[in-house]
């Protein structure tokens, strides 16, 4: 499902020709119902032959000279209401077989991140410990990244915002991707800072925001999505290296915890990378997508379990 939404918002770039009838527009979809020249990108008014005046929103050109006809909101010009289709589900998201799986996966991860953030609140308020602050912020931003990844795209598509707001779909795609990359980079930076907080300047948090903004901006303007993945990989590997070397600096009785944490960060690193590839490079890992979802969920649940075990459910 992520690919369908991703493709819908990103595939049509400004200036590119619109897909022709019969050509796939979104993954698994054909625009069979759309007559030629009738679908125009938002923001580019359709010119009516002979009249040379832009058509008004919600009006449809009638080739036989009839008056403009009002079109229901959420429907593409020329698109007939299919039996069983819903105006709030214009691209058939709910019918996608992976929709349910991705919805559950996203909800579980967001809930885990929220609980981690919420349950460490009192601890941070009591101690003001910077390591705890960075750790909980990392999960706050992981939660935001997953929220943006799924729900913002879902709202944009399900509420048909490009048509409602008369904005080209790719604008929402770019904005969504920007927010996702920003939030996920912030999460990784905070995770890194939680391991090196003693060496990180107390008033240096704004640097993290600047770095994340630059990474998100690079991703927005750089065609090759692998650049973003490479940057996030470097940050994650740094986290791994720091937690690996911490194993040797830890007292004997605490070594077990340090090793466990290293393994968790290692899994987080592997599955976050796979997730990024899944999102940024459509169809890269379609076959093992469910496996990635399952193991990623497990990683977040293990972290949540470790937090609750120590903090309690309060």
């Amino acid at each position: 499902m992520s690919h369908i939404m991703e493709n819908q918002m990103n595939q049509i770039q400004p200036g590119q020709p619109m897909p022709q009838p019969g050509q796939p527009m979104f993954q698994g979809q054909q625009i069979n119902h759309m007559p030629p020249q009738q679908f125009q990108p938002q923001g580019q008014p359709m010119m009516q032959q002979g009249f040379q005046q832009p058509m008004q929103n919600g009006q449809q050109f009638q080739p036989n000279g009839q008056e403009f006809q009002q079109m229901p909101q959420g429907q593409f010009p020329g698109q007939q209401m299919q039996q069983g289709s819903h105006p709030f589900d214009p691209v058939g998201l709910l019918g996608d077989p992976n929709f349910g799986v991705e919805l559950i996966y996203t909800l579980v991860v967001i809930a885990s991140c929220f609980f981690i953030y919420r349950s460490t609140k009192e601890m941070y308020e009591l101690t003001g410990h910077r390591g705890i602050k960075y750790f909980r912020n990392a999960f706050l931003f992981f939660g935001i990244a997953y929220f943006v990844r799924f729900f913002i795209r879902l709202f944009v598509i399900a509420l048909d915002l490009p048509r409602t707001l008369r904005v080209h779909p790719s604008v929402f795609g770019q904005l969504n991707l920007f927010l996702f990359v920003f939030a996920s980079t912030m999460a990784i930076l905070y995770l890194l800072c939680s391991t090196i907080w003693k060496k990180f300047p107390e008033k240096g948090e704004f640097i993290l925001y600047i770095v994340a903004f630059i990474v998100a901006a690079i991703n927005m303007f750089e065609v090759n999505q692998l650049v973003t993945i490479a940057i996030q990989l470097i940050l994650l590997i740094s986290t791994l290296v720091v937690s690996y070397f911490k194993i040797f600096g830890t007292e004997k009785e605490k070594k077990g915890n340090a090793i466990q944490l290293y393994v968790i960060y290692l899994l987080l690193f592997v599955f976050w990378t796979l997730n990024m590839l899944d999102i940024l490079v459509p169809d890269f890992l379609r076959v093992v997508q469910l496996l990635i979802y399952a193991v990623s969920t497990l990683v977040f649940l293990v972290i949540l379990y470790k937090v609750i075990k120590r903090v309690g459910t309060t």
Partner: protein, 88 residues
Amino acid sequence: MKRGRLELIYDLLRIIQKHNNSIKPTPLLRFSNLSSQRFELYFGELVEKGFIHEKEEKGRKVISLTDKGFRYLERYKNIIGFIDEFDL
């Protein structure tokens, strides 16, 4: 071994609790095993963060724990466990 910030706060709060939640500043300094300079620093932090408050008792200034101070004592082991668990 030098005590960490969280441990020092715990020790100070624990001393106050052990003295029926009412102790004068001088004995607190003595029991804390801190230099007066470091004591001032941590004492200020405890007041600022609302872990302790000073009150008058029989014309003398005494220090007591607030609810937040008691909560810190309750949660201390969990906090340390959490910090160790995630190597923070």
